[in-house]
């Protein structure tokens, strides 16, 4: 406690309450992520089913997706997972400047991934004439799944920005930082979902 500060008689009680509810909040957040896994899984299995019902994939008239650019964009997103991990580690070790730098890097990389996805969509639509509604199962499944993932990344970028502002405002301490843990879990989840989407759309 800083010199001259007045002891809060309820502090011990607050700490105990935090410790008790932290585990519950963590379990609740993990359940939310599991529900998101179910959502993505249903769309992924629908995509795999549609893909296997067609004699050729991609369907005639549609070129293969650009694997090189997708690999580049994937590395951008996976890199943001690493910076997010180190942001949380820095916070745990009380290194605020390092934490802020890593978190800002994560936000920038997340936004760069979204920009890359926008570039890829534009390219597909303008040059390849592939669209959500006009390209059959291929366009519908590709844009639905990657769009849903992109929306999650967008929400994550907003979420991390809020976390950065909150931590600058002193909402979290070295001992109480569940929001940052949840943010890191969410961001890793978004990364891991992209591993699956990248594999099924570009690699197989």
């Amino acid at each position: 406690m800083p010199h001259g500060a007045v002891a809060d008689p309820d502090e011990g009680q607050v700490d105990q309450l935090y410790a008790e509810t932290r585990q519950l909040r963590l379990q609740g957040f993990l359940l939310f992520l599991v529900s998101d896994v179910v959502l993505f899984s249903s769309f992924i299995f629908a995509y795999l089913y549609l893909r296997n019902t067609l004699p050729a994939w991609p369907p005639p008239g549609i070129n293969r997706l650009d694997v090189g650019f997708a690999a580049f964009n994937s590395v951008v997103l996976f890199g943001s997972g690493v910076t997010m991990h180190y942001a949380l580690e820095s916070w745990k070790h009380g290194k605020f400047a390092r934490y802020a730098n890593f978190l800002i890097a994560t936000i920038v990389l997340g936004a760069a991934f979204l920009a890359g996805q926008g570039y890829e969509y534009t390219n597909l639509y303008m040059r390849e004439h592939v669209s959500w509604s006009g390209s059959g199962a291929f366009g519908a499944s590709f844009f639905t799944l990657t769009g849903m993932h992109g929306f999650h990344v967008f929400v994550g970028v907003c979420y991390l920005t809020v976390l950065l502002l909150q931590s600058c405002a002193g909402v979290y301490t070295k001992e109480k930082y569940f929001g940052l843990t949840a943010g890191t879990l969410y961001w890793h989840f978004v990364d891991v979902i992209w591993v699956v989407l990248f594999s099924i759309f570009y690699l197989i």
């Binding site: 585990q23 963590l26 379990q27 993990l30 893909r51 067609l54 004699p55 050729a56 994939w57 991609p58 005639p60 293969r64 997706l65 694997v67 090189g68 650019f69 997708a70 690999a71 580049f72 994937s74 590395v75 951008v76 996976f78 890199g79 997972g81 690493v82 991990h85 180190y86 580690e89 843990t181 890191t184 879990l185 890793h188 989840f189 990364d191 891991v192 992209w194 591993v195 990248f198 594999s199 759309f201 570009y202 690699l203 197989i204």
Partner: protein, 69 residues
């Protein structure tokens, strides 16, 4: 330099870097207890796998090949 070569080169170099750093982070966190840390370990492992896949895709080893008609 051709843009396609540049993006593949960045994918390879970045992929190796990300795979190495996530594997190292996993190694360092291996003995940390707690539910959240167990989930982080699984996710770091999958992140490393994803980075390896992106590297192989950048190298042209993996890629989407058209299904035979």
């Amino acid at each position: 330099m051709d843009f396609a070569v540049l993006e593949r080169s960045v994918a390879v170099v970045g992929g190796v870097l990300v795979a190495f750093v996530s594997a190292y982070a996993l190694y360092k966190d291996w003995k940390t207890p707690g539910l959240d840390n167990q989930v982080f370990k699984v996710m770091l492992f999958l992140l490393a796998v994803g980075a390896v896949l992106a590297t192989l895709a950048g190298l042209g080893v993996l890629g989407n090949f058209p299904k035979a008609a």
